[in-house]
Symmetry: C2
Subunit: 351 residues, 2 copies
């Protein structure tokens, strides 16, 4: 029984775990020992590699209370990891959820947050197999480990691109950054302990806002690229298109020429960048949080890729080509014709 003013510090660790478990679907057959023992135990999938990744959301760095509804925090914490699994061409299977919670976190906000996590987990057929709960004197932190499986020959590494491969991106670029800007404009005045209500956020709702708050990782596309051996290298756009292009270039030891006019930016995001950035294209390419996939494809597999795009139901755009000279450049239309410029670096975490 939850009274509105209850906080997580009014509950024991076991009670908070029980609240999470009530939101989950029933444990899968491969889970030998689940939540409640010292560790989880499970049967590996036959003839598959295990694929595993971890990512964290920290309040004040990756989200802010004054404009992020709690369900979106839980959703994003899982989604950013599913995006990494997708970029490997793997099928997600299970997750561990490690939460550091401020004592004054409202129990209602806690359950809304775990609801966002549980909903995406159920929709993605991901089972929560364990986790950790601790209090923190600082900002809320959500650390999620996701593991999945892939056949060895279907794995999408960063390192397989070759000169002559085409470069593709899924969906659109820059939407999440535009959504974040909209949300900030509409944020709560105070940065106190409260989260915005769903109704408050609704007032800033747009496709871009939803793209930022509740990204849809490209799991199905990644799986289809892997199964059809359609891509030679793949990364996700967590830190933006420019960063992703540099990652593929570095890991594959190739160069990339990206056609600036081909980069797909949706109309709402384009309007935002046009009105706010000195160089809208650079702003879009260096903005993060889109969770699309950037990947490379042999030109002779173009027809196979069309089938993949149709099966995945995802728009794919050819935006460039791999070269042999290691440089990562934009080709941009200017007054005097096309000119190549070095691609800027993306978002940097520490520097």
């Amino acid at each position: 029984v939850t009274v509105p003013s209850s906080t997580v510090s009014d509950r024991s660790e076991a009670e908070l775990i029980a609240l999470i478990q009530a939101q989950l679907s029933s444990p899968p057959a491969w889970l030998t020992i689940g939540i409640g023992d010292d560790a989880a135990a499970m049967e590996p999938a036959r003839n598959r590699l295990e694929v595993v990744t971890v990512d964290a959301l920290v309040e004040g760095v990756h989200f802010e209370r004054r404009f992020t509804p709690p369900d979106a925090i839980g959703h994003r914490a899982l989604a950013v990891n599913l995006s990494d699994i997708a970029a490997m061409g793997a099928e997600p299977r299970g997750a561990l959820l490690s939460l550091a919670l401020p004592s004054d976190l409202l129990l209602d906000d806690f359950t809304e947050m775990t609801t966002g996590f549980a909903r995406l987990a159920t929709a993605s057929r991901v089972s929560l197999v364990g986790g950790n709960l601790t209090r923190t004197p600082g900002p809320m932190m959500i650390d999620v480990t996701v593991f999945g499986t892939a056949k060895r020959r279907q794995l999408l590494a960063r390192s397989g691109a070759r000169p002559g491969d085409d470069v593709y991106v899924s969906g659109t670029v820059g939407s999440a950054a535009a959504g974040l800007a909209l949300l900030k404009r509409n944020a709560l005045a105070s940065s106190g302990t409260r989260f915005p209500s769903a109704a408050h956020v609704q007032s800033a709702e747009s496709a871009c806002v939803d793209r930022y708050l509740r990204p849809a990782p490209r799991v199905r596309l990644g799986l289809l690229l892997g199964r059809n051996r359609a891509a030679t290298a793949c990364v996700d756009l967590s830190d933006g298109l420019a960063d992703a292009a540099h990652q593929i270039a570095r890991s594959s030891d190739v160069g990339l020429v990206i056609d600036g006019s081909a980069v797909p930016i949706d109309a709402e995001a384009q309007a935002w960048f046009d009105s706010s950035a000195p160089d809208p294209l650079v702003a879009a390419a260096t903005s993060g949080d889109d969770y699309e996939l950037l990947f490379t494809v042999r030109p002779r597999l173009r027809n196979r890729l069309k089938t993949v795009a149709a099966q995945a139901g995802t728009p794919l755009t050819r935006i460039g080509v791999c070269t042999s000279d290691r440089a990562v450049v934009w080709r941009r239309q200017q007054a005097g014709g096309a000119a190549d410029e070095p691609m800027p670096l993306g978002y940097r975490h520490f520097r």
Copy 2:
């Protein structure tokens, strides 16, 4: 090249990852894709279950800067997870390291911390396969996921204890709490951004202090208990003996009678509890961080257990018996003879 006043914010994420990688042993053959891609990929062990756990250390909750040398933080963050793997009877294999770092963390402290992690990883034959780095406006947080393997029939769950089983504990109880108390008495006056030097901590050094700072998880004992099918249930003492006893009772649906006079408390810790606690035995049993194992054994397997103890090189003490009535009690010597009292609960995280 490290200058003394450098902080982690003077380095890029890639540079910090390179500093960690330089401390690690070379990647194992089963690791198909390691650090540097969207996710790690690895071959599962044949005919084994996967065992996985996550645990976090938060500055101000699980350690304090004014009395914890950075190498001990890295060591403990891995050790607490190895202890969970040990309590399952599993063999640790790999880890993911997720760090949230304050921008003003000195680079020297960062590398000392990761050195503590890397040293224990190498000694335990655990490979770091991936992780995450983020800055935080709050306290430092270290979130570690460890995975390992076990044959199904060698797995040690919490739920297998039966009435009549003997109850054993490894090593000694209460040492870490005594060590923590000693450390606090000797702490730096300020709780600013600095960590104590090794020399400063040395001045408070004792076996108990080392037990608190650099616990040795009972991995070998857990493996031998599992391989020899010597234990019916097992948990680790992360939250203390009393909590562990309740966990086994609840999961196995049995009662436990613990003989208070049999609980092994080392002399230094005993002296500390005698001088500081109204009830030294309760203080020892409800103190955490010892990372010993509590487990149950069929009485007819007593000889097999002696062999396990000899092979593990670990003292094991029989401290009680499982009953059919679900109550968890102490049998304590008092003026009028022995009396049974309800076992107190252990450390609670939220309430």
